[in-house]
Symmetry: C2
Subunit: 542 residues, 2 copies
């Protein structure tokens, strides 16, 4: 019903409305910059004309295999040209791209293939063994396509009924992509790496992918023609949507199969890399590289990191090494990063510790995210912005997932009260920046007092001999729980449990000090996160 | 009806869907950079906290006057802080902002007020005389608010029932803005300056405004914290949406009541301006300024121009003066610019004439515009990309207007065949860049041959004595029409009609050469466009 003249005879029509989608970004790059290098991979150079033509070939070949709207194409690929092509070619058919985590075991992969009802699987030869096992265990029987990357010389048999290049050759570059019928249509499916229970299938839509992809550009202040190095796995939240962002600004993707210091430094120096993203582990890799592997950076390189706040020492070393580090935060459910530690020029005047303290905060919402707050989940009211009161970090807006596939219960729970519940505990500072304190399940409750494991870890991190630390709850008859610390020492450094205990007493309230110290390598998930559930098991035995 | 699992139990809800709107951009800037200077106006500095607070005061005060969803607030304002506040405060109430062209006469203004059903009018004291006449002639009786800008010391009486600052003082900054119910809801109303007949009311919606505002950032490669100088009138297509763009990147607006060379150079040097937009006349103003008024630019300044292709000599002089000129193109119906002469680095190797020829082309679509093509309006098929075949430039996508207010006939005509018909004639080059050749009605048909008035004007422009030239059709018994040239000479230069005729014969096919030359100042519209309909009248008398 028309509410005013502004709603009368002013309807949507094909001239003034198109569903938002990142697929048009590649079309535009190919139209405007056909000869510009879109992809670098070893000795291979592909222009935007070629990239677009190959994506269309892929789409038409997939359609010939019967792939269409609402179907799932699962891919087990590293950061290769094929992975980039799949980010366009698969959704061009109306199908949904399911990027599999290449570090998972066959049982979980089989679960994902079945749950997502994969119709086609494209797998790099490097992962053929685990994929063969996953396919044998799965109930679905997808068409399997091998991707035999010339840059990969290691072991691995072909397991599919055809090779990727033959598939493309069977297609045509005259393929006319379908616009999504609705921008709410799914574009990607990403399974969480869930530490317990079955993974959940996070569904992204075209609207959110387009908005986060351009949001990355606005938030990162990315100009035209960036040179982007792929250290972040593209299977992880679709590489934070950068496979789509880079087309929007006609940049160059530099692929990388192996994330090693020498390869990263070489790529940066040889290709003039301007931007890269990665977990904190990438920073350590770069900083701890042998001098012989390091190369002079051609300019200041923008490094976007997430997962854990960058420690002060690392920030200082990264700066000295020529990187400008920006701290992002997000979840699979928010298309990757949707929160940014937006730097305020006033903070340049702070000393290095002061700057690191500012940079450790997760920050503020992306322009593309409408709401970010720390709420009391019981009352759904914001906590005071005092930097102290704990609440749950929640988001709302267009870059929050469509929901969990075939899991209405989990979807309802995640969206209860009109906000997405991140499961992360945090505080809001007086300036509105949020800071994580813990995952809900990582909080330690000792004698009725909440202990933030992050706070204890921060204290341990400041000890000069500590390379990494993780603190978990250990059940205790008297206190309920007590903190138990797992510590990795720096090579060539030594520290005893007594020394660390004394250090903690200096830096923390007594009840927060770990009662136990374990020196061990920390178990990590396939995406580099520390597996606290494993540590909790280990703590039982201490 | 669900089409697959991807459409089942995965609906929109408040956690994962918000209508797109540029209003959130100011909220974010005020949240993240509250103390950053948002507005410079003479000696005045306003932070983002103040800008946002004042916009909310305005919204709450307007609501107290009864303004709400679907109402129109018309403003007669220069490039002042109040104009920026209205771009947020008015739509925060759900109402529609109608920016009036301050150079129009009372009769047309009265028409707009009546047609738009203005409920409130906010008028700068400078325009009180013409507004008083317009209001007297109008049938509507809006509440009239005077804006008495301290930077304006000229004549003009107050004509309203209250002053703008008093209005704001009556409001509260605790106002909670309404999200638009639907992103398709109207945000602005812009009347075309129609050379014949009544102006048409172009309606913009929140979705398009948000997308073009971020599109400006992506297309212009605008980083964080630009300093933007207001030489382009904000009443013109909402200042090409830059009042919203600048908030998205927490930049600084430098207001300017009077577009004069000294004021522009002073603003650039004093405030470190990084970007400005303006018609080609601004470039002439800058280049022809007395040396005493010129100032050293602190850095290369990005200058975005539209309306006419920048001539080679002007481009070279602008470059020498420290400006990087980008040529944009668009119409009121496309939220201002939606086409950009995206520069290809290969062209840097061309000589100055070659570069100017590339830069004279209107270019390619904005990332935010889904389709741009040159079509044969009879068949709606694209013309060949040969740089020669004339067709009509057409656009489609999310940054095309909602339609013309209360004018379903004109709306239907504009959108016929699923494209917006620009009314501009152009060609498509082999690389896909479009170039305007003429408005449909500006083409001259002589002996059955089409003559592009732009081509003839270009030839005249190259003559060293010619400052400006416009060519129109003069009815001719034998040929149907012949070209008639109107020429402005550069100060201190001379040329006779015979000299120019000889020049044209050297540069053009004989049938394209003007039969008549008139030396006169060219009549311009209020937005600086040459009024060809006046010239056609004058040509009758030649």
């Amino acid at each position: 019903m028309a509410r005013s003249s502004y709603d009368t005879d002013l309807d949507k029509n094909p001239a003034n409305y198109q569903p938002l989608t990142p697929l048009t970004f590649l079309e535009r790059a190919a139209d405007v910059y056909p000869d510009r290098v879109a992809i670098v991979h070893g000795a291979l150079r592909r222009t935007y004309r070629e990239f677009h033509a190959r994506a269309r070939r892929l789409a038409s070949a997939l359609e010939a295999l019967g792939v269409g709207e609402g179907d799932t194409v699962a891919v087990m690929l590293g950061n290769t040209p094929a992975m980039l092509e799949c980010h366009y070619g698969v959704p061009m058919t109306g199908a949904v791209l399911n990027t599999l985590n290449t570090r998972l075991d066959p049982a979980i992969l089989a679960f994902s293939l079945d749950h997502g009802e994969a119709k086609v699987v494209i797998a790099d030869r490097e992962f053929s063994r685990v994929m063969a096992q996953a396919l044998a265990a799965a109930k679905v029987k997808p068409v399997v396509v091998d991707y035999d990357d010339p840059e990969y010389a290691g072991p691995g048999e072909r397991i599919g009924s055809m090779e990727y290049e033959a598939l493309l050759a069977s297609g045509t570059e005259d393929h006319v992509r379908r616009f999504p019928r609705d921008e709410w249509d799914a574009i990607a499916l990403n399974y969480t790496s869930g530490t317990t229970g079955n993974p959940k299938g996070v569904v992204y839509h075209h609207r959110g992918a387009a908005l986060l992809a351009t949001g990355n550009i606005v938030t990162c202040g990315m100009g035209k023609h960036p040179v982007y190095l792929w250290t972040l796995p593209m299977f992880h939240c679709n590489g934070w949507c950068f496979p789509w962002s880079i087309s929007a600004v006609a940049g160059t993707h530099v692929c990388l199969r192996q994330v090693r210091a020498r390869a990263i430094f070489d790529a940066i120096a040889d290709h003039g890399v301007t931007h890269l993203c990665g977990a904190p582990i990438i920073m350590s890799t770069l900083l701890n590289a042998p001098e012989a592997e390091k190369r002079m950076l051609p300019r200041v390189v923008e490094f976007f990191t997430a997962a854990a706040p960058p420690p002060e020492a690392v920030l200082a070393e990264m700066k000295a090494a020529g990187f400008n580090v920006t701290h992002l935060y997000g979840l699979t459910e928010t298309y990757g990063p949707s929160v940014v530690n937006d730097w305020n020029a006033d903070w340049d005047a702070l000393d290095s510790a002061g700057q690191a303290a500012k940079k450790a905060r997760q920050g503020v919402r992306y322009l593309a995210l409408d709401g970010l707050d720390v709420l009391d989940p019981a009352t759904m009211r914001p906590v005071p912005a005092d930097g102290e009161t704990l609440g749950e970090v929640m988001m709302r807006g267009n870059v929050v997932m469509k929901g969990y596939l075939k899991n209405p219960g989990a979807t309802r729970e995640a969206f209860a009260g009109g906000w997405f519940h991140s499961g992360d505990l945090g505080v809001k500072h007086p300036d509105g920046y949020i800071q994580l304190k813990d995952r809900s399940k990582d909080i330690i409750i000792s004698g009725g007092e909440n202990i933030s494991s992050i706070e204890v870890e921060d204290a341990l991190f400041k000890h000069p001999a500590v390379q990494a630390a993780a603190v978990v709850a250990k059940p205790d008859e008297k206190w309920g729980e007590t903190p138990c610390a797992f510590v990795e020492l720096k090579p060539g450094h030594a520290a005893t449990a007594d020394e660390l205990a004394a250090w903690c007493r200096q830096h923390l309230a007594g009840f927060k000090c770990p009662r136990h110290f374990v020196f061990a390598e920390l178990p990590k998930t396939s995406t580099g996160k520390i597996q606290k559930f494993r540590l909790r098991e280990m703590a039982l035995a201490v």
